[in-house]
């Protein structure tokens, strides 16, 4: 490649600047999380031990390694609270991703089949809420779901309910909040593949007498699978670690893992256990994240 041969100091800066930034602020912190997850909680500043001290030399290094423990991991593997919150997170993520597929597919399909001139506007309308604050969109649902909120008012007025129901602090509220917040992430990748689809394939199927539902099942659906996969990963991975939605809309019976991490860190000030939770969460999400990166780079870079 010509650009490769011509690469001078300017090009080196262009590459090394973001490279080092990400290495320092994204990669290095994970090493620190891993180290602290192996530490012990102490009442000190910082609240963990041992503290790595390169000045102590070889003996210092040896005592540093001898002080590392697996206590944090032992705790999160033995205490029910942690195991239940992992399971809860997986359950919420799996169920809401399925709901998102069911809700998002018809919307994406409808946009892809709408008149060409209208499509950019419809896509923008789907994206616009994503640009609005996540926190505000979750908060907006509190207005609707709370005990004296709009939903109860309407249901009571219609005579469907006789006494107000608490919709908040329930799993249903979490699912509503998650589906609402993540819908654009499901619709956009689906729309991108559906819109690129060659329509002559559908015409061919119709000409050969294939009924429309069967064309959809045999042609459209398989061709839209890459978009569906991207949408599923784009929703599933962040939902597992979601904090804001379950914290504001969910109940206090079973916490999701993001909430547990938050509580360990901010309320209990147990940094090693919080780090161990983060490492375990990352291990759980590693495979989906790698698959997602493959999809992303294939799509953006045209690499095989």
């Amino acid at each position: 490649m010509a650009a490769t041969a011509r690469r001078g100091w300017g090009a080196r800066v262009v590459l090394l600047l973001p490279y080092f930034w990400l290495a320092v602020f994204f990669l290095a912190p994970f090493a620190i999380v891993l180290k602290i997850s192996l530490s012990q909680t102490v009442v000190a500043q910082p609240p963990y031990a041992p503290v790595f001290d390169p000045a102590a030399g070889w003996t210092g290094l040896k005592s540093f390694f001898s002080q590392l423990t697996l206590d944090g991991y032992r705790l999160i593997c033995s205490d029910q609270i942690y195991i239940l919150s992992y399971l809860k997170s997986l359950q919420v993520a799996a169920v809401s991703t399925i709901i998102l597929l069911i809700v998002g597919y018809p919307v994406a399909y409808g946009i892809a089949r709408s008149p060409r001139g209208l499509q950019p506007l419809l896509v923008m309308l789907v994206v616009l809420p994503f640009w609005t604050s996540f926190l505000i969109r979750v908060y907006a649902w509190i207005n609707i779901l709370q005990r004296d909120g709009l939903l109860n008012d309407i249901l009571l007025a219609l005579g469907i309910l006789s006494t107000p129901v608490s919709w908040l602090s329930s799993d249903a509220a979490i699912y509503i909040g998650v589906v609402y917040s993540y819908l654009p992430f499901m619709v956009l990748p689906l729309y991108a593949t559906l819109e690129k689809m060659d329509e002559s394939l559908l015409e061919a199927a119709a000409d050969l007498g294939c009924p429309r539902w069967k064309t959809f099942w045999l042609v459209t659906l398989p061709l839209s699978l890459p978009g569906a996969a991207a949408g599923v990963l784009l929703c599933l991975i962040p939902i597992v670690g979601e904090f804001v939605i379950p914290d504001l809309l969910g109940g206090s019976q079973t916490l999701m893992i993001g909430q547990t991490l938050w509580t360990e860190f901010f309320s209990n000030r147990d940094w090693p256990v919080a780090s161990a939770i983060a490492v375990a969460l990352l291990a759980l999400l590693l495979v989906p994240i790698v698959i997602y990166q493959r999809l992303q780079s294939r799509q953006l870079e045209g690499l095989r």
Partner: protein
């Protein structure tokens, strides 16, 4: 065969209603005169007036805007560099590690990113506050800028750059005079996305903040935990209005850019 069936219209309409109804309700409630949020007491601007006297909220808003402007600008510079490296440098050493680091933050749960950045700042013995939030937000949002700019660079006609270089224009000048103006709409869109993501972030800011630096989402969150208040509806409405205006401006800019490019391409053919 492009038929707009009833089913398609209904599903798009329902989808958009679902997306917008809660926000519309929130906006309407922000003009409610009654202190009880859900009891309608007529139209009023009382909560907006109240907001003007809420020092803590105004302070938080100003912190948020400064953090967002600084981090979006830094993220745009870094994102442009990363996008160029990924689209133009072919297969360089460490490319896989680089692209992994670029794409991973897009889906990484915020609690993990926030916790790890905080532990980095603690380990480096940095005082936490305004600047640590700026650095954290730059790291998160530069990845979004990279993806947007990268998409534009891929659909880019390189013959213009080649023509300039063939005529003896040095690479750096070619970049400034040819490439940069052509990818400007993507850069502007990337900056605005970075800005609004930073303005929006609660989790990472909560981890990386220190005494005295509380951003708008941190402030709103602590109020919301205590229950729904009409003032919160008002500040949220202002927030939504600002973002809506920014988004419309961004999309008009991209559209104008696209139209100019088409016109230029047409002129070139003639």
């Amino acid at each position: 065969m492009r038929r707009t069936s009833t089913f398609n219209i209904v599903s798009v309409a329902l989808g958009l209603t679902f997306l917008y109804l809660p926000i519309v309700i929130l906006v309407i409630y922000s003009f409610n005169a009654s202190r009880l949020v859900t009891v309608w007491g007529g139209w009023s601007l009382a909560w907006y007036r109240e907001l003007l006297h809420d020092e803590a909220m105004l302070q938080a808003a100003s912190t948020s805007l400064r953090v967002a402007a600084l981090s979006a600008t830094a993220a745009t510079v870094l994102g442009i560099c990363a996008a160029i490296a990924l689209t133009r440098f072919g297969r360089f050493r460490g490319r896989l590690a680089f692209s992994s680091m670029v794409y991973a933050p897009l889906v990484m749960p915020e609690v993990i990113t926030g916790l790890s950045l905080l532990l980095l700042f603690v380990a480096a013995n940095v005082d936490r506050g305004f600047w640590t939030i700026v650095f954290a937000h730059t790291t998160l949002t530069m990845c979004f800028v990279t993806v947007i700019v990268q998409a534009r660079l891929i659909g880019f006609d390189r013959s213009l750059e080649e023509a300039a270089m063939d005529l003896g224009c040095p690479p750096f000048k070619t970049f400034l005079t040819i490439t940069l103006p052509l990818i400007f709409p993507a850069i502007a869109a990337g900056w605005m996305l970075a800005f609004s993501l930073s303005l929006d972030d609660l989790v990472i800011a909560s981890f990386t903040t220190g005494p005295g630096a509380s951003t708008l989402p941190i402030r709103i969150y602590s109020e919301v935990r205590l229950g729904v208040k009409p003032e919160i509806n008002a500040i949220c409405t202002i927030f939504v209005a600002v973002v809506a205006v920014l988004t419309v401006v961004a999309s008009l800019m991209t559209k104008r850019g696209a139209m100019q490019r088409e016109r230029a391409a047409y002129a070139a053919q003639v």
